[in-house]
């Protein structure tokens, strides 16, 4: 059996000398799984995701990613791991000096790909940005920016997709469409983890849900493979 994509064992996290935001978090994301992460605002969802996408090291506990124990991984080993993760940041983090198109193409350029124009255009059309490709992020609506961020996260077909509130700024119809995009990617083998407030999104699928309460993790639904 393959090692799980993500494994947390008794992970604790605090920022600086502040209070512990995450406490004794233990869970596993199997390869190819599709999971929702829920919890009240401030519960620590973004913090948990940051630990997974290697933006912060944990204060204590053990994290392994793609079967690699991060505690013993050297700095130089982290960039290749990061390249296998697509991230939709809660605050998008688009580069304002690049067009929407260039923002989406960025991961492919970093990977040294050349003939990506068709893929990028097709994906942008799919998320409804076909006619906004050459606009700069500051001139896009919140929902449009969010879709650029999502397109950028999925364009390189990452092994692991982490999305932080990816449907917070779009109407329910577009939200459902984006979740379908994630489902499509999941069917192609990508492990998906989505943090959300949106109950209806979670209810509409039968995916696994894990919930953060007071910095601790509660599993609400048994893992299962679902067709979305």
């Amino acid at each position: 059996m393959l090692a799980p994509m993500v494994r947390f064992e008794n992970v604790g996290m605090r920022y600086g000398s502040g209070p512990e935001v995450l406490r004794d978090v233990t869970f596993v994301l199997e390869g190819g799984s599709f999971t929702f992460l829920t919890g009240l605002s401030g519960a620590g969802k973004t913090t948990l995701l940051k630990l997974i996408y290697l933006a912060e090291p944990p204060s204590r506990g053990l994290i392994s990613l793609f079967g690699q124990d991060l505690a013993i991984a050297k700095r130089a080993h982290l960039p290749p791991l990061r390249r296998r993760i697509g991230v939709v940041f809660q605050d998008f983090r688009l580069l304002d000096h690049l067009s929407a198109y260039d923002n989406v193409a960025l991961p492919l350029r970093l990977a040294g790909k050349r003939d990506y124009a068709h893929d990028v255009e097709e994906l942008m059309a799919w998320v409804g940005l076909g006619d906004r490709m050459h606009a700069r992020p500051p001139t896009l609506s919140g929902g449009e920016q969010q879709r650029v961020a999502i397109a950028r996260a999925v364009v390189a077909r990452p092994d692991l997709l982490i999305a932080d509130e990816p449907t917070g700024n779009v109407d329910p119809e577009m939200g459902a469409r984006l979740i379908r995009l994630f489902g499509e990617l999941n069917r192609l083998g990508t492990t998906v983890l989505i943090a959300t407030h949106d109950r209806s999104l979670v209810e509409a699928t039968r995916a696994k849900e894990i919930r953060l309460v007071d910095g601790r993790l509660v599993e609400l639904r048994a893992p299962m493979r679902v067709a979305l």
Partner: protein, 297 residues
Amino acid sequence: MSDSKYILPRDKGAAPLDFVIAVMAFLAALALGASMIADRAAMGWQSGLAARITVQVLPPEKSSDPRGDMMREAGAALAILGHAQGISHANILSDADTDALVAPWVGKEGLTADIPLPRLIDASVIPGEKVDVEGLTAQLKQAAPNATLDDHRSWIARLGTLADTMRYSAYVILLLIAGATAAAVSFATRAGLDAHHEMVALLHQMGARAGFIAAMVERHYFLSALFAALLGTLLAAALFLGAGGLEVIGLEAVPFLPPLSLKWTELPWLLLVPAATALIAWATARISVLSVVRAIY
């Protein structure tokens, strides 16, 4: 990577940074050129004086024929100088030459006949050769008791001190400006990098290696600093060449003061300024990016 121009901001809004770098490079090039001129002047003075020895023969006080005795002693001294090691040639200054020398003080009327002026022997030292001044003095004392030898040692020493002061002042100014330039360039580069901070952090998050991000950013700063500094340096070079032009059109340089221009062959030294400037910008950009990335995790 060929794609870096797509990733870095194209409208970099760095005009003030380029301007600061150009101005600092201009000043640094001026200081460097000035120190070269000071250096050359100091060397010129020292070698010019060191290459001459003067023997002065006074008319003997208790003599029935002071002028005759003086001429005889001058002849003897000339003979000694003529055979001395390290001296290329020596000659007794003629009456006319001597008159010319004292004319500014006593007027143009020939005085040589009435008041016997000392005879002067002007000797040239072969460049690079050492003259045995002590030995010569001893020999002269024998053959020409009223002769005194002056190798301009005290003059040379004083001029040397002056030249050294000038030279070291120029070096200190050059160093100060170089230090200020380095600080300004690295400060400006870091300010420019602040604007790129978000991009650097994002590329890092996307799995770009620190070295890759640094290479992309540092090349950008290297090139823009190089061009800005070249501009400033060219302006300084034009100024130095222009100063030479003034002399050509008749605004004669003050005699004895060094010419304020650089020769064509000396100008390439000024290229040290843009080279150093670009290197500083490059190193600052690299160090800044690497430290930003290291701070992230």
